[in-house]
């Protein structure tokens, strides 16, 4: 019998700064995907170097501060619009307006798209009806609908939500359809043999089986919606993070544009991270079938 001794990872390994475990004794690492785990050390370095470059370019006036303001003046402006606001609308209000559009568009996209995908996965008739529609609209970037949406619905709130809805709808329908189609026949057979009705098979086998793919669809759709939002807010609005940077650009307030871009990036990452947490919590069986 081999003895099992407990080895504690070093502090560096625990911080992700050094290799630990099976990887450190490997002699072949180039080409071994499991050995390429990245190094947090280099991640920290890369962010640091970018920040220093930004700071230096302003401090030594390598660039014109009107086009690329430095971190200090950007931070000042950030504090200003966070507290007093820009054009009497605070940053928080801009963000809330954008988030609520996202939640409405994405939410309705899920509520319509998921049942649509289920219908397409379960019925020949409905698959036949909806396949051409979904396949046609899926590759069209949502922004291509902007002119039509303006013509039909004007530039109000509905138009923006409609665009985001269109961005989410096809993605959700296709994700739900492929979730339904991925069910193993033996599971469906087992359920029927155990006395389940059609509805029970749908509710207790097909739905939970499709959840992982629906979740992946939701993550993608949320990302696409977020990307569409800035452009959707071009359709005139008082509030919204996209609107804020468009207006700021007209008045040459580069700091606000930069703040907006950084916030859009950070919130995008945060939403994806939140979805992943939710995924791990709601569907721990993902990939374990």
């Amino acid at each position: 019998m081999s003895e099992k001794t407990e080895i504690k990872p070093t502090l560096a390994a625990r911080l992700g700064l050094a290799q630990f475990g099976t990887t450190e004794r490997k002699t072949v690492t180039f080409g071994d995907a499991s050995a390429v785990v990245g190094s947090r050390f280099w991640s920290i370095m890369s962010v640091l170097i970018l920040a220093i470059l930004w700071w230096a370019s302003a401090a030594f006036e390598w660039t014109d501060p009107r086009f690329l303001p430095g971190p200090a003046s950007t931070w000042e402006r950030f504090v200003l619009i966070a507290t007093e606001g820009y054009r009497r609308v605070t940053l928080m209000e801009h963000l809330t307006a954008s988030m609520s559009r996202i939640l409405w568009g994405f939410g309705i996209g899920c509520v319509v798209g998921i049942p649509l995908g289920f219908a397409m996965g379960l019925s020949n008739f409905l698959r036949g009806i909806f396949d051409p529609i979904v396949e046609f609209f899926r590759p069209i970037p949502p922004l291509a609908f902007i002119p039509l949406v303006i013509l039909w619905f004007g530039i109000g709130e509905e138009s923006k939500v409609l665009l985001l809805f269109l961005a989410a709808l096809w993605i959700m329908a296709i994700a739900a359809r492929s979730g339904v189609l991925s069910v193993k026949l033996s599971k469906v057979h087992a359920a029927y043999s155990l006395g389940a009705s059609k509805f029970q098979v749908l509710r207790h086998v097909i739905l939970p089986n499709a959840l992982p793919e629906i979740f992946i669809g939701m993550r993608v759709a949320l990302g696409v919606c977020w990307g569409t939002l800035v452009a959707a807010e071009l359709l005139g609005a008082q509030e919204g993070i996209g609107q804020m940077i468009w207006v700021a650009q007209k008045f040459f307030l580069t700091e606000i544009v930069i703040i907006g871009i950084i916030l859009i990036g950070v919130i995008g990452i945060a939403m994806d991270f939140a979805m992943r947490l939710l995924e791990g919590w709601l569907i721990p069986w993902r990939g374990k079938g």
């Binding site: 193993k184 033996s186 599971k187 057979h189 087992a190 359920a191 029927y192 043999s193 155990l194 006395g195 389940a196 009705s197 029970q200 207790h204 086998v205 939970p208 089986n209 959840l211 569907i283 721990p284 069986w285 374990k288 079938g289």
Partner: protein
């Protein structure tokens, strides 16, 4: 009597390119209540097709199957199914999997819990009820599949290579469990396997099947399953009688193989 009867079953699959595969031809048998039948044969001889027809998932292109004189025309709770692997519901815990049938039938929760606990004890998984199925080993997962099937108290249990994915030692243990369940419950069982030894050990009847078209090539009545629990299984499997039967069946399979290879002009 709950006899399982197949009368001249034929199954022809039509392929999209217009060709046809005759997966079963003229398969007839009567399996009396409480027997355990093993089906042995090379891949593609229609074992899965036959099981699917008996389970009611497929309608044969000709012939009739019936259980206690009622025609089988769809899945039903009188026939339970155990698949090779991956048919457990990974989103449910072990006990939720086992209790699936009773729950779908609207049985009271307390009654279901008792049935589930008893079954988990019987298959040797007492105390594992709240585990996730993907945390269990392959052998334990098949125990869950057996228990899930038994929870509905079917008359007939159909098993399609239930032990096919298990390692040798786990496999022997599971064979013992299946024999024990068969003896204690008196259920009618049909079990598909690739292993000659397993087919001999578990079957009190054995069909050797042949492909193209899928059919029953030869039938055996066997004494081993009945003795299997009283004597040491290793002793039984190495007894003179057992080995003779094993060699007889192996040479039959070799003959069949040579016929197929010969007719296609192939060499090993």
């Amino acid at each position: 009597m709950q006899n399982l009867v197949a009368e001249k079953i034929g199954m022809i699959y039509k392929l999209p390119d217009g060709s046809q595969v005759e997966a079963l031809k003229d398969v007839s048998f009567t399996l009396e209540e409480g027997r355990i039948l093993t089906l042995l044969g090379p891949s593609g001889c229609g074992k899965t097709t036959l099981l699917n027809i008996l389970a009611g998932f497929l309608a044969p292109t000709s012939g009739v199957v019936s259980l206690s004189d009622r025609k089988i025309d769809g899945p039903g709770q009188d026939r339970g199914m155990v698949f090779q692997q991956g048919a457990l519901f990974e989103w449910l815990s072990v006990e939720e999997n086992v209790g699936f049938g009773p729950r779908m039938n609207g049985r009271p929760a307390a009654e279901t819990k008792k049935v589930v606990d008893d079954l988990l004890d019987i298959v040797g998984l007492g105390g594992f009820g709240s585990k996730a199925v993907y945390e269990l080993s392959g052998g334990m997962q098949q125990r869950v599949a057996l228990a899930r099937c038994l929870a509905n108290d079917p008359d007939v249990i159909l098993m399609d290579e239930p032990l096919g994915a298990l390692d040798a030692l786990t496999r022997e243990k599971m064979q013992g469990l299946i024999l024990k369940l068969w003896k204690e419950t008196g259920k009618t069982i049909i079990l598909v396997t690739h292993s000659v030894e397993e087919a001999l050990f578990l079957g009190d009847r054995l069909f050797v099947m042949a492909p193209r078209p899928g059919r029953i090539e030869r039938e055996y009545e066997l004494p081993f399953a009945a003795q299997g629990l009283e004597v040491n299984p290793r002793e039984l499997k190495t007894s003179k009688e057992f080995i003779e039967k094993r060699e007889e069946i192996l040479s039959l399979i070799w003959e069949m193989e040579e016929e197929i290879m010969g007719s296609r002009g192939e060499v090993l």
